[in-house]
Amino acid sequence: MSDIIRLENIEKSYGTHQVLFGIDAEVSEGETFAVIGPNGAGKTTLFKVMTGEAPCNGGRVIFRGEDVTAIPAHRRARAGMGRTFQVARVFLELTVLENVVVAVEARHKNEGRRDVPWYAFKPAQSVVAEAMELLAHFELEAKRDAEASELSHGDRKRLELAITLAGKPKVLMLDEPTAGMSPSDRAGVVEVIKRIREENRITIIMTEHDMSVIFGLADRILVMNQGARLALGSIEEVRNSPVVREVYLGKESQHD
């Protein structure tokens, strides 16, 4: 099956407040899939339902041909979901290197690798080497011994990407990768994402408010409004959709 993720009729409520109304979507293996919509449309909530952070009240999440609707987040992660957060979440009191080492060790453990005994009180050489390679990739190797709390916002976003890629995900879910960045930093992030995509042949699902980022990266776009699916298609299809123009693109200026 070429669909890596399929969402079937996803419903989600917080108490009596319904946030998602029967969302259907499918993401093909290897594509870059963008979810857009105004603030509060339910993009982050949809991410939460996909990754298992929040249970849905109705519908099914199919991941790599398996129904994962009732499966907890850590097991979805083991199966190949990796995600970043709208506001980067890294381990602030650990060093930059430790942040990535923890992630590499978690994957090694899940792969059942024996070269890193749980009782070794120094990270295995292979783990450190792998972590350093990831840091180098994101130009963070010079800051390896800094506490993550000392990093700038942009550096934290990149560290979070390094942590996430340390898990070798099959699907990379990016919740607003350029949120809170300057236009020049945004261009940098687009380049990084392109590079990740080429090197890992990875499926990417992302949300983003910046249309230039979306148009530079996405193969297909899901447009959401007030918890409902408004449109789903290629950039051209979405751009030319009258419904989308009316409800969403007309308000685009509000978001920047």
């Binding site: 952070e53 987040a73 850590h74 990796g82 506001v87 979440r89 890294v90 381990f91 650990l94 700038s152």
Partner: protein, 337 residues
Amino acid sequence: MNPAIKATLLVLSALVLLALPLWVNPGLLHLVGVTIVMGVFAVAWNLLFGYAGLASFGSGGLFSIGAYFMAVMLRAGWQDGFLLLILVSMAAGGLVAFLVGAIALRRSSGIYLAILTLALSEVLRLFLMRWHWIGAEDGLPNIVRPSFSIGIARVDLSNGHSYYWFLCLACAAMVAIMWWILHSPLGRTLRAIRLDPERTAFMGVNVYGYKLAAFTLSGIFAAGAGALYAPWAQIVTPDLGNMTRSVQPILYTLLGGASSFWGPLIGAFSFSAIEYATRTLVGIQEIITGAILLVIILVFPTGIAGAFSRFVGALMPSEPSSRHGSSVASAVRTETP
């Protein structure tokens, strides 16, 4: 701190502790022995708090499980297997902690976990107070300091200061094992879980399993401290597991610093030193002790305040949004020249 300085300090304090019986009076030596045990107990508590981010208010219950197991087995005349008895007592504490954790950690954290563990340890204490076979309210007195053999060597801990030295060695071994565990990948993962459990789960880590492991390990070593305490005090009573006992490791940890492995031990010794220094001030001792603690806390705002805010954080898990809000704020601050 420089590792060499740390190691030197460690060796020096160990030597001082080992030489203590040669020049201090028995009363003070008894206090030092209790402090060592309480220090280990506090490190065990901080294994849970400082590393896994879980605050238990029932560790006194685990301490008294270790002490009672040891007391009962020694009074049954099994002193020949003393080393094994320590392991059995530790296993008992670990088993209880595992069972409690398996249920409690599924649902509760923060303040709920604190109240639940407090309630369970009170239930245990009331139970011990009513069980006549183990002395009910009077507890079990006349616990012998054992004499046993390892291979062909005979170890007699009943004479002179030998049990004190054994206590030092056993506590050092427990601390060493805990140090090792917390510096392994397990410890690193636990620290990640304390900082952001959700984020850690998204790395494929079974957070519940790790928390349960920390809960169990903490129980094992809390009971280990209790097991060593029984022959030292030579009496165990239900009050060993009262609320004061559960609060002591918390106090030591906050005093010494939760973010440091050695913090709880330092806290235990500082606290005992303050109490000892003020022992003659009958009636106002608590006030003086409290005032000194307050001053120390104010003089070391980073260590103590950092520990305190995390303590509060563990009691009341903050909304992710507010936590991230503040991390953005600090990111913005660091970006501004």
